[in-house]
Symmetry: C2
Subunit: 246 residues, 2 copies
DNA sequence: TTACATTTGTTCGTATGTATA
DNA sequence: TTATACATACGAACAAATGTA
């Protein structure tokens, strides 16, 4: 049974917000998957019993939040990380002259573990809960520039194997979508400066003690569900973290 | 004479975009200043000869771009940096436990100079063009944590004096608005890691060679007019640069 | 406190334009 | 060409917030 919706039982008092949340709920329930088209505006107005204007306002917000994409003449689609724009929305590392490039990714480590305090806080789970830890080394122009130490909760990534990670054809977040039905729609990042240690020296080839940009990232899905905790270390000799507001 | 607008002579073919740009033009022409209320929707529909829906869609975009703020029952206002939210939109330094706080600012240096290559590129002016350079030291919880080396083009800040900067009651961007009629609506930032030098040691009290977060910022106004170039150096021992997307 | 005018916010619905398959 | 889908434009009616008399 699809998600039913009764405008009369609206809680918020603001109809388009209720419609938005109903769509979000259907999305979280897996009714439509990433990359798929959702029903037409006409069908959705029938389903939710609202006017076209109200429905559009609801979807307007979902589009503004990068959860959906509209294409005139084709339909409205659930956002995917396959799209180039979407990838560079979360991957903000550029060459200092502004050049953008897809990184080459090498899986350096993979293991099951129990969440430490830092991971538990970031992922909103308990200390000791099972997690997967893996490390990627990212290269630009053939040179390693960043180490990603990634932690994901086992509860949400049950069947994850090293082989899958090594052989995934697309981006990591696209992989989360395709295999686990997980949509990363929001990230929070905290940036600090740090000195390179032995590990950085080994993986990036930088001297111990050279300055690195440290990026702590928490990735979330709908309803602020914590999906991934990531600590990155970037060699900023030739590259940097680029940011634009708004 | 106020900006006239003739829907019949619309260029873009999309009416609400024309209305938006007409409003933006009136704004840039100084018809309404920061913090002021603009005419009611009814008056603007009369002026531009469009329907309420079209006008609202135009203003929707201006609000989404943080150029205007709507208040139900009061009116629509030109955005100001006085508002707390607005300040923390551009000031992203927080304590590592998430605590936010207004910084105390001390003007450490001020002088007229000629733009070097880096400043010229950032501000889209010619090398050698006159600029003002000044340095602020920002403190949080009474401890200096960041140095801001700021460059602004003299052409846009004719009468700027050290005294004004030292005595400004509000935030810097608010000062730009009040005294020079300049609205900062967009910033672009690039983050790198660097090692502390003698100057950092003197102003921040950190050891030479300790890691600092280096932030290069270009602030722009309407039509991408470059307003300010700023190179910041942050001690990330207890603080960090926080970022949320979307 | 109350009543009222003003302003933005929400919801409705229709008509027409434009892009796509 | 045709059907479908989203985009734009219009405007009416009512709700909610605000400031003032």
């Amino acid at each position: 049974m699809g998600t039913q919706f009764d405008a009369g039982s609206a809680i918020g008092g603001v109809l388009y917000k209720d419609v938005k949340h109903a769509i979000l709920a259907a999305l979280a329930a897996g009714e439509w998957k990433a990359g798929e088209v959702i029903p037409s505006e006409r069908k959705l107005t029938d389903r939710f019993g609202v006017s076209i204007g109200t429905l559009r306002k609801a979807i307007d917000e979902l589009v503004a939040e990068n959860i959906m994409i509209r294409h005139q003449g084709r339909g409205t689609f659930v956002a995917t990380h396959r799209q180039e724009d979407h990838f560079f929305r979360f991957f903000r590392i550029v060459r200092q002259d502004g050049h953008r490039e897809y990184p080459r990714v090498r899986l350096a480590r993979f293991r099951r573990a129990k969440a430490d305090q830092e991971e538990a806080t970031a992922l909103a789970i308990a200390v000791g809960d099972p997690v997967f830890r893996f490390t990627n080394v990212l290269s630009l122009e053939g040179k390693p520039v960043m180490i990603d130490a990634i932690t994901v909760p086992e509860a949400r990534f049950k069947s994850l194997t090293e082989k899958q990670l090594r052989e995934r054809p697309n981006t990591l977040y696209n992989f989360y979508q395709d295999i686990f039905g997980i949509n990363v729609i929001r990230i929070e990042e905290h940036l600090r400066s740090a000195l390179a240690n032995e590990d950085d020296h080994t993986l990036l080839g930088v001297p111990v003690g050279s300055p690195l940009l440290k990026i702590l990232r928490i990735a979330s899905s709908f309803h602020d569900e914590r999906i991934e905790y990531r600590v990155s270390r970037l060699d900023t000799t030739c590259h940097e973290f680029a940011l634009s507001q708004p």
